[in-house]
Amino acid sequence: MSAVKFLLRTFQEKINLILFMKKLVISTLFVMQVFFVFAQTATTGITGKVVDSKTQKPLQNVVASIENTSLTALTNAAGVFVFNEVPQGSQLLQIKSTGYKDQLLSVDVIAGKMLDLGIIVFEEDITSEQQLSLVTITENDLGDDNSGSESTSGLLQASRDVYQQAAAFNWGQARFRIRGLDNEYGITMINGISMNKLYDGRPQWSNWGGLNDATRNQEFTMGSAPSDYTFGGLLGTQEINTRASMYRRGSRISFSGTNTNYSWRMMGTHASGMNTDGWAFVVSASRRWANEGYFEGTNYDANSVFASVEKKINDKHSINFTSIFAQNKRGKSSPNTDEVTRLKGIEYNSYWGWQEGEKRNSRYKEIEEPINMLSHYWKITDKTTLNTNVAYQVGFVGNSRLDFQLANNPDPTYYKNLPSYYLNDETYYVPTYAPDNVTIIGYTNPSAEIAQTNFVNDGQINWNNIYYTNKVVNRGERSAYVLYEDRVEDKQWSANSYLNSAIADNITLNAGINFKKLRSKNFQKLIDLLGGSYFNDIDPFFSGNASQSDLNNPDRQVRVGDAYGYNYYLNATTFDGFTQFKFSYKKADFYLAQSFSRTEYQREGNYRNGIYPTNSFGKSKSVVFENFGFKGGLTYKITGKQFLDFNGLYMTKAPSLRNTFSNARLNNNITPDLSSESIMGSDVSYIIKAPKFKARLTGFYNKISNATEISFFYGEGIFDAGEDGSTDTDSFISEIVTGMNKKHVGAEFGFEYQITSTIKAIGSASYGQYTYDNNPNLKVNDDALATSSNINPVTDFGKAYLKGYRLPGMPQQAYSFGLEYRDPKFWWIGANINYLTDSYLDVSSILRTQNFVVDVNGSGVGFEGATEESVRALLKQEKFEPITLLNLVGGKSWRVGNDTFGFFASINNVLDFEYKTGGFEQSRKATYPEYLADNANGTPSFGPKYFYGYGRTYFVNLYINF
């Protein structure tokens, strides 16, 4: 019986499907040219009903708007939208909704008639599957801190612009950055609250990582174009809206497999929609994990939970509570020199070693910073809304490392472990003699050979040796090696309020205020004694008082969980406000906005450092910055389908907390010559929006002036030896570059052309020149030079001659071409080919000061052998090989009853192209003769270190929507 029932049901399904297919074919064919059915009404207007192509169910809350007017309408529960009093004549109607393809319809409005567009079939946006599956490279987080080598793909994933989608999905894997700009020039918001960290100005994507379903309601603006929520920056804004009633009702479960930074992902989401009592809720959870990601020893473990509840109190007021909890722990991978890569391959990672049959990574990053947010939505009048949010974020970020005292460096790539060390020292060469035992016929370097054999055969962290040293050699007492975390524990309150008001038919006002208060504890946390029972909290490179981390508590023995080394708070309070007026007229739209902000920073030392007894403990001077910004823009409508768009921005930006205290770990000193950045940006675009052809061509010119950069490293030859020549000139220093100007000039282009109703061609191009635009000032802090009378041991190195060098870390040219085929039977496939070039190595600033070329400081006379040509040749910036990437994507979905099953699959870098994504020069050999000697035989001990992109990777996602 049941079998018969089943057959009947299947039969029924089939009929339904056939009927449905018929409908679909008709609606697909006429999706662009809609039947005009005129109803007999008195008003001049447009109406239509929006349904989902797959389920044929009406879609609610779809936004319909008439281009070049301020008219917008939302669909009701029956999927119907209505415009009354539309200007007669030819109009462009745009209809859009999250997760669906936008539709642009040409309509002719006749006076006194209600134009009925009938049923408008909405197709799911195939890129939305891609968005839900995008593995942001940023998560890989190659840098030691949350820095440098990141693409902007996380920011862009929700964009609908063809060019920006290429940037996110096709170029992101190669660290492409829009307009060559760092993420700190964009603003990422959740409900209007900026998620950019005060520490470095960059958003911490991991704070909501894995919650792709729950964070898909996004609005994006590009460049300095206006946002309703913030004044913004040079790069653009991303606003993630978590209001529960905004989510389309339904559930979704997905399961994915990939070979990128994780192996598996599970995600489940349910949205209730607004019920009759005014409640709506959304819950989502995901888990991502890998025993080993693409690079060796990179384990991954991430769990995320999201909940949002809304209560509609009445027509004017709603309250929403959002809670986001994302924890993430992953092993990091090392950047490697060419020598190391040549011996071990690009997937080699020096951070891990075998321990009891497991790969243990010594450098993991763990993040756990839950966000809780209370939002109030107030519809003051039909034309004015006020949204207020209060958020509290508390948690930690830990970056682990091995620490060691009076023991060998455990890093397998430590320079003395590599063949180059022996090859670069003539004393390790042994002559080979002719049979007469006198004539030297050649040389061998047995030490180099041994080093090479050891490194090739092992080359990983030797945990056994570490435990043996602590447990046996040191009898389980003082640990020579420990594992610790550089730990940041933040507590941050944020509050904002923003107003949106249509103050006249064609004038809209946006205004907002933001407040933030951060207390950030920074310290070294002891994680594992690795077989010993305590660790000495001293700096063995110094002696006497100077070796003490904390004179208030000297000679401490620290144990697991203890803070040691350095320990301080960074406190920050920021306030900012903006107003923005948008004007909309028949021939042109324009806007003007202005902002003001006040930023206050302070360091508060918990330790009295032995090197800086008078300026490390207690509170620093507080540093205040007041900044402002102006921007404006104009959209000129050449015709209804062609536009010219201009944007201009000038603003100043407070330095980040990170760059304000130049030696924050040890003392309260404020970075010398610190000042706000000034930022100037402008762009011009020509835009075509036709139903079959959409394109944008933009030229941009951006200047960032007075930027500050601080970095830390060991340097040789940076300070002159003492008179007796005995001073060790190899010192751990911080390099402070101030007054740096950067120029970002370029053009970007994107188009999509619907060749047939099923085939679409997509192309994007980006051409940029991102350069250092002046010779900034360079100062160096060396703790070894500190004395009781010199509590700020900063040495001025004069100018760093950087002008004309390219900004590193991203391809400055990128091109993409793709084709997409979308079958009416709910499957689709796409391919794109990409070419990226003009990517450069990060040059060392200190190598570009006079210190590099001048023998005796102050004399101006160069080192022996240094000529303009020879110096230029040594300091020539390395340009990486161009990158060619072929990517394939495809998917299919099935409807079974009311549910949709589907899969999405992508293969990135199908050709398995091996490429460098970035890298940096080491600064250790900081003078011409030392650098020359290190590079003499082509295998420098301190050559540049590189990051590599993934080879061929895949991503498969199976999902069910119900």
Partner: protein
Amino acid sequence: MKNISKFCLALFTFSMVVSCSDDTEIAPFKPLIFSEDFPEEEINFNATFDFEGWTNFAEAGTKLWIERDFNNDGYIQFSSFGSGEASNIGWAITPAITLPQDANAVLSFTSATNFVDNPANKLEVFISTDYNGTDVLAATWTQLNAVVADNTTNGYVYIPSGEISLADYSGTVHIAFKATGNGTTLDGLFQVDKIKVYSNN
């Protein structure tokens, strides 16, 4: 299609406007043309000065310049003390130095004395454009106006020569350090170190 071709045109224009330039700056420095700081590793203490390319010549008497070092710092020295000779004149002459056209070259060195109590016991610096590498006295030597240690300077204290312009010279030159003394009254010692010829451009 019209739109597409319009776009291509615009795109082309843009790429022309954004022109290429790859010039980078380098830190300014005065390139060395010649330098000799008598490195300690190459010093043979109290041995006759015999660095490759140099000329060590006694015009009068038998005393020659010798190699010395002090506090890990090598130098050359001329002393007529105890020579028993009525006149001692010693020349230390650099290897051939090629001064490029328009190099605007500058000479600098340091010198020190001890036991010098008479201006006639002196160190002089000369330049020649026609010295053949062997016959010192046949060459034309022009004296250079250098600050040198003398009877008025403190013992063993190095005196910088100042920047001595060689802008009038180009091509092959030799620079000579000529010490004059004797075995009786003019028997002080002279030390020379850190010789540099560099372009002042």
